[in-house]
Symmetry: C2
Subunit: 259 residues, 2 copies
């Protein structure tokens, strides 16, 4: 199998770096080095990918085919400024940061996985859409090929649209998971098991595979059932949950009226 990138260096050893480095190693790309400020983190990921660990940005090899920077957004600019191997192809994995933060490198791009990742959970990259962007058509092709090698769907998306996709992901994943958390908290107060809700959560996620969310919206807010909503608001003890209930219900009712 043709592999455009024979080897790669990971700068960062968090959730995204871990899942991505493991996937690349599995696809035959040699992981040369893993950098993290925290030696244990660098070592953990280096160990499972057969790489060398390092904690010094200046110790990073200058002859890898690909450098993947996967650090918190707030740390990205500093890490970039400290890297010395400018004659290189460097990508970051951030949903929000513009590609241009990498312009000091000869070639640069973005390889953003639109998926929630956990260090400990195996993840099949065929379930990870990748939003790709590069400084040139040729390097964008290489990233597309890399995505194919990982069996991922990929989309050519510029930095502004990628940020919009990231915001959408925050709603669809992070906020959804918080709705699950609030539900579990309410059930706990009522001494009811969280399992009670699993079929409902499954069905809610299943329905939008084939229909628009606005078409399948149900519940008191969708039918503007003011009495039920008031009963619920009165019963909620947590002031923040009360506020979320009111605000999201208002948004649902407004949206239902538009239809």
């Amino acid at each position: 199998m043709l592999v455009l990138f024979r080897n790669a260096v990971f700068i960062g050893a968090g959730r995204v770096a871990t899942r991505m480095a493991v996937a690349m190693a599995g696809a035959g790309i040699k992981i040369e080095q893993v950098y993290s400020r925290t030696l244990d983190h660098a070592r953990d990921l280096a160990q499972i990918t057969g790489a060398n660990a390092c904690t010094d940005l200046l110790a990073i090899t200058s002859n890898a085919d690909l450098y993947v920077i996967s650090v918190p957004d707030a740390a990205l600019a500093t890490v970039v400024s400290e890297l010395k191997m400018t004659n290189a192809f460097v990508v970051h994995t951030s949903g929000t940061m513009p590609m241009e933060v990498l312009r000091k490198f000869e070639h640069f791009g973005v390889f953003y996985p639109l998926q929630t990742m956990t260090k400990e959970y195996e993840l099949d990259f065929s379930e990870v859409p990748l939003l790709i962007e590069a400084d040139s058509a040729s390097y964008e092709e290489r990233l597309a090929y890399l995505a194919k090698t990982l069996k991922s769907k990929f989309y050519h998306v510029n930095s502004e649209k990628r940020c919009q996709a990231h915001i959408a992901a925050v709603f669809a994943c992070n906020f959804t998971n918080h709705m699950y958390h609030i539900a579990s908290d309410i059930l706990k107060q009522a001494e009811l098991p969280f399992d009670l809700l699993l079929p409902l959560i499954r069905e809610t996620a299943r329905k939008i595979e084939t229909d628009k969310p606005s078409n399948i919206q149900t519940g008191p807010a969708a039918r503007n059932d003011v009495n039920v909503m008031q009963t619920h608001i009165d019963m909620l003890e947590d002031p923040v949950y009360k506020e979320i209930y009111q605000l999201v219900s208002k948004s649902i009712s407004t949206q239902a009226l538009k239809k």
Copy 2:
């Protein structure tokens, strides 16, 4: 197979009545009558269950084994007051209304399906947890048996806890679906396909099958990444989406700090 309820009458022909009547008919219970104020609705459900349609509450037969009232909460008291067959076993399917609204009947109970339903979608009742309650242990046993006949899991839950479960369901289903809607709206503005988010939505729903939502919370709010959150808030054009973003993020950050 022993069927404790040989026949049933449905008062209401909406989403819940439709899916439940179809499931009961499939389990060998004869649906005698379907009432709706709207003749077309009564006829639609009567037709697929082999029942008679009626639009007059006074025309309801007095000798069915089970009466299921499945009408909007706001209409429940009126419907109950107009029903004449008091020597009967009557249940409602509401998440929020107390069982006691049915006390004029000789026996009464609640048969609340904790699931999102659509008239047009087939629904396997093994995926529908039922919250049951009755005026006596004997009738509660009959409802438990009915749930078993439909292959549903069932839980003995009193009216107050049922309402809490309903509130939890509003967060886990209705509010989650609205988060999907907002995400789809943001992607539409950016001219990106909604399909992009389906793997993420699947993974988010899958993870809580085996872990607590608070354990798997990811995203800028969970790591209190103030810069990313501010960028997102600035980019959101819809003022309601902005407000939801801020409020839910605050709730996630607060919850993350408690851990």
